[in-house]
Amino acid sequence: MKANCWMGKKRVEVRNVPDPQLLNPRDAIVRVTSTAICGSDLHLYNGFLPTMVKGDILGHEFMGEVVDVGQGVTNLKVGDRVVVPFPIACGTCHYCKRGLWSLCDNTNPNAHIAEKVLGYAPAGLFGYSHMMGGYAGGQAEYVRVPFADVGPMKVPAGMSDEQALFLSDILPTGYMAAEQCGIQPGDVVAVWGCGPVGQFAIVCAYLLGAERVIAIDRFPYRLRMARDKAGAEVLNYEEVDVLDALREMTGGRGPDHCIDAVGMEAHGGTLEYAYDRAKQAVMMESDRPIALRQALLACGKGGTVSVAGAYGGLVDKIPFGAVVNKSLTIKSGQTHVQRYMKPLLERIERGEIDPTFVITHRMRLDDAPLGFGIFNDKQDECVKIVLKA
């Protein structure tokens, strides 16, 4: 089959690889009908996350049709149309039982690697480095889905692929980011990052009762999408002083909550960016937390900073004094997708959310390398690319 493989820094290639086989009784094989490129894939693409091996198949947002099931799977049959969550979860461990699906104890065969870096190993993920399990990803024609009786969710016939696809990752991610803020009526929420996750965070913040959402980015086309499609008030951090603007826009109070939907490859004003890039170059810092620093400083007193952006390692110069003295709460985590799939599916069915608004490009799997290129460089007003079979 064809699959999009990581071949090195800034290099992905679509190659011919063997079809997946069932390896465990609770596996299923899914023929992928739609998949996407995620912003966190770019961290792998740009070589920021360790433990990648040449040839690894990427991709963790995918859906399709079940073509084979292991003996342990009784709730799915061949032909079912499913969307698959990106964390792989067993459903029976302590964390799964508490709804913390991305912390599953039992799905990372390379837990010993993750433990060394993180202290304890979270769940395995599709297509996201060997530290996260070394699973083959979904930017391919077929994928093996472990614990298929737990993760995959059936998609109703009336719903298109594009409506359902983002339940695999980014819509639940935006939702969890907003939910973790603990939004009260009247609250003002600031969102850093107008990529797909940021767009969904804006939408979900409104759904959860925010009175105003202010979105921050530097690409006018993304800010336009945030304003016109997601309904946010927008700020371009290259044009204005964000901390100042946020303060004055909120009558001197600052936003009640802040969402970091940017993550470890943040870009910033010259000096700060140069500092972080320099430190990365000599391996003294692995992640660039520019948006996070701003969010921590900008957040109003007593608020929550919800970190949806992906970070892998070490960050530098975090204004922790601001956290302590403003009594801030920091919430984060890889999305517990399984928790949100059904409720969000229902919202989509009721017309409360139309996730398709973030899609700007549709391509075939063969074009994936080009897709990575324009997505990474923000070319051609690219926000979200969907790869179709």
């Binding site: 063997p18 091996v53 459903g91 699906w101 104890d105 039992n106 010993h112 399990g133 070394g134 083959a136």
Partner: protein, 415 residues
């Protein structure tokens, strides 16, 4: 029969950690609060103590700076130093002085790492310098007057070093809190705090473990491992699964097979590095249902080993904590284990991974496998080729106490 186990393994690492937390003097009751105005002598005592604590470090710091400065001088301008000290300016002397310079710098740095050993390093250096100078007095090319002066200076420094060492000794004896400086924490301070932890509890000078070495492993203390994991099932089920030793190879990847011979005896075969195989017979020495199983290998084993696995309820609804303590003596002793380590075997990690697989098996009925880690070898995360043997998934044994693998949490999308 139980003696080896009692001696070898009864004290767990957790006991050790607790003991070390108590400090050198052991557990003493928490002291009653002090009313400072009722005890005027205390303030005086504190002032003296604070001075005693910091003074030696300050002096040692000064000596360190002096050492490094002198060393730098000796290294950079040995001829000049020779001239000042009245020593013959020939090549041997120049090299000697340079070497002395390096030594001075090193002992200066050593003081920053640990005041006491650093100062003693200085004293040794002073001794060497005095010997050098004494020797020079007999040399006709030397300027005797200057040599004598230099010797007097060195002697004076030596006295200062000795005085400082004495102060440091007194300060160290006051207990771990006496020093105000952070430099105290490293190198050589183990002697003050009591037996170190790093050597593994088999090697402690604590005294009560003297008998350990003699019982099971005559000379070699072997490798000790203590690891634990929490499994979300009641102790009865976890104990039952483990007790059927023929299940163990399913998650202990180094085991090839276990054959239960009778009530207490079993035969074990395991893989060794370089494709070899080792075997031994083991007996259960203690068996408390749902609580613990202790075993020991029999005379003539390829790999002597003994251990205890305990099953205790985990807090709340978390299930069972499984604690494994074991000790084994690899073939070819320490050398063998070193070689094995170089070949990528790491027993502590292996036991941890074995326990993780045990948990997976019991909680989910299968062991997680990924394309990128099949056979525990790293390969790219792509599906394996068909017709190339995919390693056999270890089949769930018939008598597995069934983990209820119906997902307890609500699986999305279920009708």
């Amino acid at each position: 029969m139980n003696a080896p186990i009692d001696d070898v393994l009864e004290r767990t690492r957790e006991d050790e950690w607790g003991r070390q937390a108590a400090g050198r003097s052991g557990w003493a009751p928490v002291r009653e609060p002090v009313y400072v105005w009722e005890e005027p002598g205390r303030r005086q005592e504190w002032q003296e103590q604070l001075a005693r604590g910091s003074n030696p470090d300050r002096i040692a710091g000064g000596l360190a700076v002096f050492s490094m400065g002198l060393g730098l001088l000796q290294l950079a301008a040995p001829r000049q130093v020779a001239e000042w000290a009245g020593l013959p300016e020939e090549r041997n002397m120049v090299n000697l002085l340079r070497a002395a310079g390096v030594r001075e710098i090193a002992s200066g740095l050593a003081i920053f790492a640990g005041a006491t050993p650093g100062v003693w390093a200085r004293i040794l250096g002073d001794g060497m310098d005095l010997a050098l100078l004494a020797d020079a007095l007999r040399d006709p090319r030397a300027d005797r007057g200057r040599v004598a002066t230099a010797a007097a200076v060195v002697a004076g420094t030596t006295l200062l070093d000795l005085f400082t060492a004495d102060l440091l000794n007194k300060r160290n004896a006051m207990g771990p809190d006496a020093a105000m400086t952070p430099t105290r924490r490293v190198l050589g301070e183990r002697g003050t705090y009591g037996s170190g932890f790093g050597g593994g509890f088999g090697n402690q000078s604590g005294g009560t473990h003297e008998g350990m070495g003699n019982t099971l492993f005559a000379e070699d203390k072997g490798i000790e491992i203590e690891r634990s994991i929490t499994v979300g099932l009641p102790p009865e089920q976890v104990y039952a699964y483990w007790h059927n030793f023929e299940n163990l190879p399913r998650f202990m990847l180094h085991l090839e097979a276990v054959e239960v011979l009778d009530g207490t005896r079993s035969r074990w075969t395991a893989k060794a590095p370089l494709g070899m195989s080792v075997a031994w017979d083991a007996v259960i020495t203690e068996d408390i249902p749902n609580q613990l199983i202790a075993w020991q290998s029999v005379e003539g084993a390829d790999v002597e080993n003994a251990g205890i696995v305990r099953f205790q309820p985990a807090p709340g609804d978390r299930g069972t904590e499984v604690h494994v303590q074991m000790r084994y003596s690899p073939p070819a002793g320490r050398l063998g284990s070193l070689v094995a380590r170089l070949l990528g075997e790491e027993p502590h990690q292996q036991v941890r991974d074995d326990l993780r697989r045990f948990k997976m098996l019991l909680e989910t009925g299968e062991i997680a496998r990924s394309e990128g880690s099949l056979d525990n070898k790293e390969r790219s995360a792509q599906p394996p080729r068909k017709n190339v043997d995919v390693p056999d998934y270890p089949a769930t044994p018939a008598d597995t106490t069934p983990a209820d693998t119906t997902p307890v949490a609500e699986a999305p999308g279920q009708p």
